[in-house]
Amino acid sequence: MENLLQFIKDNMDMIYLIVLMIFVGIELISHVPSVLHTPLMSGANAIHGVVVIGSIIVMGQAENNISLILGFLAVVLGTINVVGGFVVTDRMLEMFKKKK
């Protein structure tokens, strides 16, 4: 119990950040028209591609071949997620624009 409290105290800022982010995420979505669900999902998909930063960090500290190979793979996959995600979202949204 004391351990837990200490852990919570030490990570208080993180916890506030997480709690607030959850509120923000929920509020942002709750008033969205259903036509936009698919582009929104796709945009969110691109955003979680931010995980590629983790793979860059890990790759930049890799020392042996296995790490290098796995890291390279991770960077490639993460980048596909990011770039593909944003581009495909843009393509979807392009179709929504008002045409005369």
């Binding site: 997480i18 995420g25 259903s34 945009g43 590629v52 796995l70 890291g71 960077v75 996959l77």
Partner: protein, 472 residues
């Protein structure tokens, strides 16, 4: 100094993610939102490469390989995204999502590998760190494997597979995975590494088994769920490296994705539990389709008669559905619309929010064939208009015009708002047979005296219709 600068870049990145997602929620600003988030992402990635230092002040190595990976990934992602057919977008999103999950999984793998390759006992790793690594790996690999299966199902490469004890096995598997993970963290024995890899394999297996039995039509919901999983996996990475932009991006997608999943379920009038366990979008549907409860006679109509009806109508409303997408009939549909308009007929499209197989499916589909946005009328707006409509042409839609949703409390779609086409003077329904749609239920509408069935594949039927109208 540079580290502080990097933190500011991360802050900017985080704000662009939030603002981007906010803008994405509004049709007018959506594209801008996507671009804003993309710019923030680029900043964050470049900032990391050039400014990141670890706690000992060491810069990133292997920059050549990193750039190689970035360039290769960008090329592949760009080409895939540009080449994909509009109708294949959901599976593309799923595939990209899987890549993100795999990336998270690999990060955890490398972290462990990094540790063990130095010959250090893995049990000496700080527990908190190990916990985060293992959670990131579990979620990442479930998301990876699940997304690949979802992609396979949507693109028709994998069929629905369900067997009796599926749910039991899945729950059991989950318990084993978490048990093993906890054991690996606390036991401190000599098999910790093996347990870790065991968790990896089982997580991948779980991802596969989790998605396999879910009906193909429920896939958008599942993809959205897996999407939020990957968000959480990315957030784990943020925890691990104390990296705020990963944390913000990850949690944002995690929470927004979860809510989006629920909202999507609601629009289809189903509960999430139902989607995950119910298996109603797949096998059950075809099964139920056999047992017909609605009786009556149907009236068939030929293309030439439809042509006359439509040409001399004042107002025509086209109701597109899943069949239009399957038949890729959007272009000929647009041709029909312009043809009728040139004859002085007022033509509109009635867009049901869950027509098709993904939210906004019809908008995207019709926009692809250059149908003007003003002609796409949302359900609430068009419903009162049916009373003044001469001809309603239902193309490949079924559930979204099923009156059972309003009248029959025992129907699985009871309570879902529908397009009230029966108020129009004439209803013409184009589909290939009397088979049921997604919900697997009979449709009374087809047996009404007002309704005429215009059988045939949507693309062929509409092409025929267009040439008949031209020849009148």
């Amino acid at each position: 100094m540079q580290q502080n600068f990097l933190q500011v870049i991360y802050l900017i990145g985080s704000i662009t993610f939030i603002a981007g997602l906010k803008y994405l929620g509004n049709a007018k600003t959506a594209r801008k939102g996507n671009i804003i988030a993309a710019i923030g992402m680029t900043l964050a990635i470049l900032g990391t490469i050039f400014l990141y230092e670890n706690s000992e002040g060491i810069r990133l190595q292997n920059l050549g390989l990193i750039f190689g990976g970035l360039i290769l990934g960008s090329l592949l992602g760009y080409i895939a995204a540009k080449r994909v057919q509009m109708t294949a977008m959901p599976e593309m999103v799923s595939l990209f999502n899987g890549m993100g999950g795999a990336c998270a999984m690999l990060i955890s793998l490398i972290e462990i590998q990094h540790f063990t390759s130095h010959g250090i006992d893995i049990n000496s790793m700080p527990k908190g760190e190990f916990l985060i690594i293992i959670i990131g790996m579990i979620i990442g690999s479930v998301s990876f494997a699940g997304s690949i299966i979802a992609w396979g199902k949507l693109s028709g490469k994998i069929n629905d597979k369900s067997f009796g004890l599926q749910q039991m096995i899945n729950i059991g598997l989950l318990i084993v995975i978490f048990g093993l993970a906890i054991l690996a963290i606390v036991s401190g024995g000599e098999y910790t590494t093996q347990m870790f890899y065991g968790v990896l394999v089982l997580s991948l297996l779980y991802g596969i088994l989790f998605v396999l039995p879910i009906g193909g039509a429920d896939m958008p919901v599942v993809i959205s769920l897996l999407n939020s999983f990957t968000g959480v996996a990315a957030a784990c990475g943020g925890f691990l490296y104390d990296n705020k932009v990963m944390l913000v991006g990850g949690i944002l997608v995690g929470s927004a994705g979860t809510l989006l999943t629920m909202v999507m379920c609601k629009a289809m009038n189903r509960s999430l539990i139902n989607v995950l366990i119910g298996n109603f979008g797949g096998g059950a549907a075809s099964a139920a389709a056999g047992s017909s409860s609605v009786q009556g006679t149907i009236k068939e109509i030929k293309a030439s008669d439809v042509a006359i009806l439509m040409k001399y109508a004042k107002k025509v409303v086209i109701v597109p559905g899943y069949g239009l997408a399957v038949a890729q009939a959007q272009h000929v549909c647009h041709e029909l619309e312009t043809l009728l308009e040139s004859e002085g007929v007022d033509v509109k499209y009635a867009i049901h929010p869950v027509a098709g197989r993904m939210p906004g499916h019809m908008n995207v589909l019709l926009a692809e064939s250059n149908v003007s946005y003003d002609k796409l009328i949302e359900m609430e707006e068009i419903n009162p208009e049916f009373a003044t409509t001469d001809v309603v042409l239902v193309v490949g839609a079924n559930d979204v015009v099923n009156p059972a949703a309003k009248s029959d409390p025992t129907s699985p779609i009871y309570g879902m708002p529908i397009l009230e086409v029966e108020n129009a003077v004439n209803v013409i329904v184009n589909k290939r047979s009397m088979k049921a749609g997604y919900a697997g239920i009979e449709n009374e509408l087809f047996y009404k005296p007002k309704t005429s069935m215009f059988f045939g594949d949507a693309k062929k039927a509409l092409t025929e219709l267009v040439s008949e109208i031209k020849s009148l």
